[in-house]
Structures are given as structure tokens and as C-alpha cells.
């Protein structure tokens, strides 16, 4: 820390300000650059990749993960984690399917689903804020509770969804653009705006960055944490509505794995699990990077098991490079190794 200050003191002030700006801009653009490189790679590796249909496929498939990733980001930026989002999305499919099966209008189904999922999210927050249970444990327990509860109210069988006004809302398309894509873009932009232009967003960064400093600056920490988990719950509910519309059914099992996909997206997007960094747009890009790589592998005919292995490595590499300090540390330790040899 002090080292940097001393080193850069040697540079004239005007140049230094410019250098600071350039470095800042690069650290913000870095992820987009990687995304562009991967798209370029896809175009080279497969002639079908840049096909409009294929691109639409990638982005539609990634839309549910993207919505969940945005919700997950609100929690991760505070230094927490929400493992219950996958099971909440499944609960959302079950609740909406049951309401629709009882011939209520789509709007009622949507409102009831949001109410349910928002409440569960708030419950997560309450467990963490008031009962002081660590986020990992609280949401892990909630995952189990919610999944079991969904299964019970689903009474065993899948519930078909036949209400077209409901399904076209979340799985249809407006003109050439699929509805899920519109939904996740709207959510992403709104979340990005909330994080960068509202006091709530600023407070979340501060809480995740240094909780004690945030407390001593008088920020409403409990309220903000409750809200963050409630937002994560609501967005999991939305993801569930999209899922239900795609599958045309409600099932307690469809959410499995989504929690990890959403966490991977946020982390590949450059957010630290300790909190205080990242943003919703980069979290979505993180998810898109993973989805694009999987798509390229599909086009190249790579089997799904090797795909999983490669996906794991992609996460590791992305996190290594986005965690700022890591590459420098690696260089330093390599340097000291060679010094020791001598």
C-alpha cells in the first residue's frame, strides 16, 4: 500500500492523475475485453457460432442465471451469500403453477409468487441480522426447508401450466427479442442504476467493504441487509416464473444447481466473496462468459463431462485474474523462488 504511494510519487502529478484514470478505466473494461475475446474465439472455432439463432440461444439460456446472478450480487456485495435461490426459484414454479391450476388470473399468480419468495428472502435476512446466523448456514438451511416445503405443497406430481397469458409474458417474445432477454436486461440495468446512483447501493458497498467503518459512519446496516436478502428472494421468484413458463410446469426439483451457477457468475464477474466489490452488469457478463464457453464447447461437439471440467477451470482462472492482487502475488513468489535458487 505505502509502497505504491512512494513509487508513484516519483511521477509528476499531472501524468500520475492520467495514469490513475487509465488504470481505473482498464480495471473496469477488463471483463468486457475477456468477453469479446471469447466471442472472437467462438467465431474462429465454429462457423455456426455467430449465427443469430445461436446467439439468441445463448442469451436466452443464460437469462434465468442472469436474473439470479443479479439477486445473488446484492447479497455477495455485503459479504454474504444466498444458497437458497435455486430452491426459491423452484418454489416459485410450484406456487405459480398451483395458483394457475386453480384458474386464478396470471396477475394473482405472479403477485402471490413474489409475496412468497420476498417473504422467504426477508426471513433469510432476519436469520442473519437478528439471529446472527452466518449467511452460509442460514441460507443452506433455508434451501432445504424451501425445497421440502415445495415438494409438500406440490403433493408429489408435476403441475402443468396451460395459461398462455402467463407463459407468453415470461417465455414469449416482443418482436424478434425473446421476453426473458428483455426481462434480464431490464433487471440488470435497474440493479446497476440502484447500486451506483442510490444511497442504498452505496451503503451496500460500504457494508461489504468494511462493516465496522460503515457502522461508525451511521449507516442503517440491519435494514440494508434485510433488503438485500429480500431482493435476492424476489429475483429468485422472478427467475422461477421464467423457468415455469419455459418448462410449462411447476416442480420442486427444477432449481437445483442454480444457486452455484449464480454464485459462479458473480464471482467470474469480479466480485469478491468478502464483499464490497463488483457490480450487477459484470455479474451478468460473468454468467454470459460461462454460458458462451459452454455453447462453444457444444458446437465443437465436446461431451458434457469434459465441459464440466473446463467450466471449473474457467471459474478458477477468472477468479484468479479478477482478484486484483493475485497475479502480482504469483509473480512475486515466483521471483523469490528464483532468488532463493541463486
Amino acid at each position: 500500500m505505502d509502497q505504491n504511494v512512494l513509487k508513484s510519487d516519483a511521477i509528476p502529478t499531472a501524468d500520475r492523475k492520467l495514469l490513475d484514470r487509465v488504470l481505473l478505466a482498464f480495471s473496469k473494461m477488463y471483463l468486457f475485453l475477456v468477453f469479446a475475446i471469447i466471442i472472437g474465439l467462438g467465431a474462429v472455432l465454429s462457423p455456426y457460432f455467430l449465427n443469430l439463432r445461436n446467439l439468441t440461444n445463448i442469451i436466452t439460456a443464460a437469462s434465468i442465471t442472469s436474473v439470479l446472478a443479479v439477486g445473488q450480487f446484492f447479497v455477495i456485495v455485503t459479504g454474504g451469500i444466498d444458497l437458497s435461490v435455486g430452491s426459491l426459484a423452484a418454489l416459485s414454479t410450484v406456487v405459480s403453477a398451483i395458483v394457475l391450476a386453480n384458474h386464478y388470473p396470471a396477475l394473482v399468480a405472479i403477485l402471490l409468487t413474489f409475496l412468497t419468495c420476498g417473504t422467504v428472502g426477508l426471513a433469510n435476512g432476519a436469520l442473519i441480522v437478528y439471529a446472527r446466523i452466518t449467511p452460509f448456514i442460514a441460507t443452506l438451511a433455508m434451501l432445504s426447508i424451501v425445497e421440502g416445503f415445495s415438494y409438500i405443497i406440490q403433493t408429489g406430481e408435476l403441475i402443468q401450466i396451460s395459461d398462455t397469458s402467463f407463459t407468453s409474458l415470461f417465455a414469449g417474445s416482443i418482436g424478434p427479442i425473446p421476453a426473458p432477454v428483455i426481462i434480464f436486461l431490464v433487471i440488470m440495468v435497474a440493479a446497476a442504476f440502484l447500486m451506483s446512483n442510490f444511497t442504498f447501493g452505496r451503503e451496500l458497498y460500504a457494508i461489504g467493504g468494511n462493516r465496522e467503518a460503515a457502522r461508525l459512519s451511521g449507516l442503517p446496516i440491519n435494514r440494508d441487509l434485510l433488503l438485500a436478502y429480500a431482493i435476492s428472494g424476489l429475483l429468485a421468484g422472478l427467475a422461477g416464473l421464467m423457468l415455469a413458463s419455459q418448462l410449462l410446469e411447476g416442480s420442486s426439483l427444477v432449481g437445483r444447481g442454480y444457486e452455484l451457477d449464480s454464485i459462479a457468475a458473480v464471482v467470474v464477474g469480479g466480485a469478491s466473496l468478502f464483499g464490497g466489490s463488483g457490480d450487477p452488469i459484470r455479474s451478468v457478463i460473468g454468467g454470459l462468459i460461462i454460458a458462451t464457453i459452454l455453447n462453444i464447447m457444444n458446437l465443437m461437439g465436446i461431451q458434457s463431462q469434459p465441459q464440466l471440467v473446463i467450466k471449473g477451470f474457467v471459474i478458477l482462472i477468472a477468479v484468479f485474474f479478477s482478484s486484483g492482487d493475485a497475479p502480482r502475488r504469483l509473480l512475486r513468489s515466483l521471483g523469490s523462488l528464483s532468488r532463493r535458487r541463486r
Binding site: F198, F200, E203, G209, E212, S217, G218, G276, S277
Partner: protein, 520 residues
């Protein structure tokens, strides 16, 4: 088996000509700061040798080097006459130098016996020889005067008992030298007595004990000699109990600076530098009968508007706790705080900030600012409502304010977008200061405002405090730095959590003896 008997713990033995441990010319510098400068000391078997000094005097660096956690830039360490070089804590332990830190290094989930034998479990065949382990651990502890069930987990023990386990572990490793870093900081009084008697037993058995502490009573009760460090250098080594405590405290604190502060000269003929205006008027903040659950007892005083009120005392006398209580960041068990005649609740920092109180915490990095956030965002953090409308932030105003603060507080070559974590300590402190200026605080509680800040930046911080008061603010300045507290309009002296005296600026002599005399 006999190897773990405490009586064999000190092969150095009496009559050995070489000192058990000798360091010479130890020097260590961190970027910009000389943490340790040419320190030479010898430690002999059967002696308790205290290392004393203020915070930042170099005690921790000294410990880290002897424990192998860090290497000195230059200087040698000899054990029983032969030079050693530790590049890991393990190497230091193998050489028989065992360090016991304030945060004990026990594994709380494992049993007492397992902890004593940690890293060196006795085996019989392919399995752990539990019987021997339990027997020997129990015997060592008993010898130390503790009867502890060796099968219970360490986490369930009281701190004093855990320390006994640490000592047993040190003995098991055939410690020649045991280094204790402020072992009594977290101990209740009866346990302190017990620890001291245990250490006396160890001394008799020929272990060299290095005892790092700034508690005078303990030094007199336990130690044979005390070496005082100040600003990284050795001031002197004094025999105990023949040296007066005033002399030792003087050595720790040093004479008040002869050099100028705030550009004012400092000799008998001139007035000493003063941060306040000296024209304080009516009472602003009034504290009555304040107590907390640990150290503060029955504290009452008034802070007048337009004054700098210093709170002096040795480290650990309750200054930090007092500042935190007044900021609502620490629970009070009794006492009333009123502002302009109105009683405040002050049960959280939010309430304090709403009433125009700000805190510059001692530990900036942990409590003062958010490392990854920009200068702008840190400056507006305590006044977000003022920079937003319907909770939408007005970023243009934020940026304008940050630029304003950067100029006014002379944060050279800082852009508003810069991450605070990359700035120097002095500039970071200015950012925290700017945060409270932005929140239009009228009262600033500053706790060790210049800790970890280089000399040039120190003067700038003083200038900021002086300017804040000139513009109508009031400051409560808690500090263990004598020259610093002497610049206040009035000085309150804290000792062991109680107010023991009050001095006006005029009553303070050139060297601060009037203040120091109240410390003990």
C-alpha cells in the same frame, strides 16, 4: 520421558557463561518507517527481563523478529553464544525461543493434553501414546500450579488456564527463552497475580523470560530489569525495583518535542503551541458519571464550545473506550451525556452523528474508512442523506465536495476516484477528517489522531484540528502522545479508567511533568 520434566526445561542452566539470548544491532525498517534501530540486548537464564514502551515504540517488531515471524534488516541473534537465523517461526521454536502472543495460539477444539503436545505427539507403534501424553501434560500443569483436567477441550477453559496450557506447551518444547507479549492485557486481576507467581517459578528453574508490558505494577512485582524502547531505539536498561517508576515512564514517553510544531518555536521564552483558540465559552457537551462494563469508572467532565480538550494517559487507560462511549459505539452501563442542556440517548453512532458528533478512530484501517471505496465515496459516507434526494445520489455534488476537500485539506496528487486503501496514512486520516467536515459535525472525538502518520503529515493534521476549532468546532483529543496532548486548551488525565486530574493549558510546564506526574 524425563525430557519433558520442567526441571530439565532449561538446559542453559545457571553458571553458563554465555547469555541465553543475545541480540546486537537489530535494525528493521518498513517503507518510510524505522521500526527498530540498532537494538542490542542480552537476556540471561533465571531472569525476567521486561520490554516496555509506548505503542509504536518497536515492541511488536522486536517480538516478531525474535519469534521468527520476520527477519531483521541487519543485526545478529545468538543463542548460548552461537549465532542463529530464524526464517520461520518453527526455526525459532526449535532453537528454544517460544513466543506466547496475546491471542493465544491454541487449538480450541482439541484437548489440553493434545495442545501441550501439539506438533510433537508421542507415539507408541503406529498410534498416539495417549496415556503418556495425558500423564505428562497433567504433571507439567500441576508443576505450574494448575489442576486442569487434561481431557477437556481448551476452548472451555478460562483465559488464565489457557495461558497455563501455553506455558506447559512451551516447557514441553524445552523452552530456553519464553517471550510473553502483554500476557495480562486480557486477564482479570486475581489471575494476573497467579500468572506472576507461575512466571516466578519458571524463573527459578532457569528459564529466561522476556516480558513485554507497559503496566508498571507488574514490572515492579515480577521483573529484574526493564529495557525501554522509544521510536524503535533502545533508551536504556534499568534495574528493578531500584529505579523509580517516574524515571521509567519518562523514558517511555520522552521529553516533549523541542522542535517546532505548527511552525511555532518551543522554548521557555515563547508560548507553547496550542491547537485551541483559548477563548472557549459555554459548556457544549456535558458528561456525568459515565461507566462502561470494563474500564471506565465514574467519569464526569464538560466540553466547552471552541476548545480542544485533551485526554491524556498511558496506553490502555481508557481513552479509546471513552471516545467510543461518547460516539454511541460502545455500551455505557451508567452515566448521562447531554448536548447544550439536552440529554442524548447515544446508543448508536447514528444518534451521535445526527447530533453533530464525529469520531476519528484510532484504528483507521479497521474503523475509519472503506479500503476499496474511492475518496469521494468515503468522504460522503456519513452524510449520504445530504447528498441525495429521494435517496437518489447527486453525484455531481459529491464530486464537487470531494474536490473541495482535496484542495482544502491539501491531499496532494489525489483524484476523487482514487481508492482510499492506496493512499498514505496521513492522506487516509485527512479523508476520514473530511468525512466529518462533510457531515457538518460540530464536535470531533479524535483518538490518537497521528498514529502511524509521518512527521510532516502530523503537522498538517494538527493544523486541521486547529482550523476546525477556529471555525467554531470543539474537539476531544484522546492521546498517549505527550507533546500532542500538551497542545490542548485543557487536559484531563485518565489512569486505569478514572479521571485523576485536570490541567489548564497554562498549568502545563514545558516538559509536561505536570501531566506525567498524574499518570501513576
Amino acid at each position: 520421558m524425563g525430557a519433558v520434566l520442567p526441571s530439565d526445561a532449561a538446559p542453559a542452566g545457571e553458571g553458563s557463561l554465555e547469555p541465553t539470548l543475545a541480540v546486537s544491532g537489530l535494525t528493521k525498517a518498513y517503507v518510510g518507517v524505522r521500526a527498530l534501530q540498532d537494538v542490542s540486548l542480552t537476556f540471561v537464564a533465571g531472569e525476567v527481563h521486561a520490554i516496555a514502551g509506548q505503542n509504536g515504540a518497536g515492541k511488536s517488531t522486536f517480538i516478531r523478529i525474535l519469534s521468527g515471524a520476520e527477519q531483521p534488516d541487519s543485526g545478529t541473534v545468538k543463542v548460548l553464544g552461537s549465532p542463529v537465523a530464524f526464517d520461520t517461526p518453527h526455526a525459532a521454536q526449535k532453537a528454544g525461543i517460544i513466543t506466547i502472543y496475546q491471542e493465544l495460539s491454541l487449538v480450541s477444539g482439541l484437548s489440553v493434553a493434545e495442545n501441550v503436545f501439539m506438533g510433537d505427539l508421542p507415539v507408541k507403534g503406529a498410534t498416539i501414546d495417549r496415556r503418556r501424553m495425558r500423564y505428562e501434560a497433567g504433571r507439567t500443569l500441576e508443576w505450574l500450579g494448575f489442576t486442569i483436567d487434561v481431557d477437556v477441550s481448551v476452548g472451555s477453559l478460562a483465559i488464565a488456564q489457557q495461558q497455563a496450557v501455553e506455558l506447559a506447551k512451551a516447557l514441553h518444547r524445552k523452552a530456553k527463552v519464553i517471550l510473553l507479549d502483554e500476557p495480562t492485557a486480557t486477564l482479570p486481576a486475581p489471575d494476573v497475580k497467579r500468572l506472576i507467581s507461575v512466571l516466578k517459578t519458571l524463573r527459578e528453574r532457569g528459564v529466561a523470560i522476556i516480558y513485554v508490558s507497559h503496566r508498571m505494577e507488574e514490572l515492579y512485582e515480577l521483573c529484574d530489569r526493564v529495557s525501554v524502547l522509544r521510536d524503535g531505539a533502545l533508551v536504556g536498561t534499568y534495574d528493578l525495583p531500584d529505579t523509580k517508576s517516574s524515571e521509567i515512564i519518562r523514558a517511555m514517553i520522552g521529553r516533549a518535542l523541542k522542535t517546532s510544531l505548527l511552525g511555532q518555536s518551543l522554548d521557555e521564552s515563547h508560548e507553547r503551541p496550542r491547537l485551541g483558540t483559548g477563548t472557549a465559552s459555554d459548556t457544549l457537551l456535558s458528561v456525568k458519571g459515565l461507566q462502561d462494563q470494563s474500564i471506565l469508572r465514574d467519569i464526569s467532565f464538560d466540553l466547552r464550545s471552541g476548545e480542544v480538550l485533551g485526554v491524556a494517559g498511558l496506553v490502555g487507560s481508557g481513552q479509546t473506550e471513552l471516545a467510543k462511549c461518547l460516539f454511541g459505539a460502545r455500551e455505557r452501563t451508567a452515566g448521562q451525556i447531554s448536548l447544550g442542556g439536552r440529554v442524548l440517548k447515544l446508543d448508536n453512532p447514528r444518534d451521535a452523528i445526527r447530533n453533530g458528533i464525529g469520531l476519528l478512530p484510532q484504528d483507521r484501517k479497521e474503523q475509519g474508512f472503506v479500503h476499496h471505496m474511492s475518496v469521494t465515496h468515503n468522504i460522503t459516507l456519513a452524510s449520504l442523506p445530504a447528498f441525495s434526494r429521494y435517496t437518489v445520489l447527486n453525484k455531481k455534488n459529491e464530486r464537487r465536495l470531494a474536490q473541495d476537500m482535496i484542495r482544502k485539506l491539501t491531499m496532494r496528487s489525489v483524484v476523487p476516484e482514487k481508492t482510499v486503501g492506496t493512499l498514505s496514512g496521513g492522506t487516509q486520516q485527512k479523508v476520514v477528517f473530511a468525512k466529518w467536515l462533510a457531515s457538518t459535525a460540530r464536535i470531533l472525538l479524535v483518538d490518537e489522531p497521528t498514529r502511524g502518520i509521518d512527521v510532516g503529515a502530523k503537522e498538517e493534521i494538527y493544523e486541521l484540528i486547529a482550523r476546525f476549532v477556529r471555525q467554531g468546532g470543539s474537539v476531544l483529543m484522546c492521546t498517549s502522545e505527550l507533546p500532542e496532548v500538551m497542545m490542548s486548551d485543557r487536559v484531563l488525565v485518565l489512569a486505569r479508567g478514572r479521571l485523576v486530574g485536570e490541567l489548564k493549558h497554562e498549568e502545563i510546564d514545558l516538559h509536561g511533568d505536570a501531566i506525567v506526574n498524574l499518570f501513576y
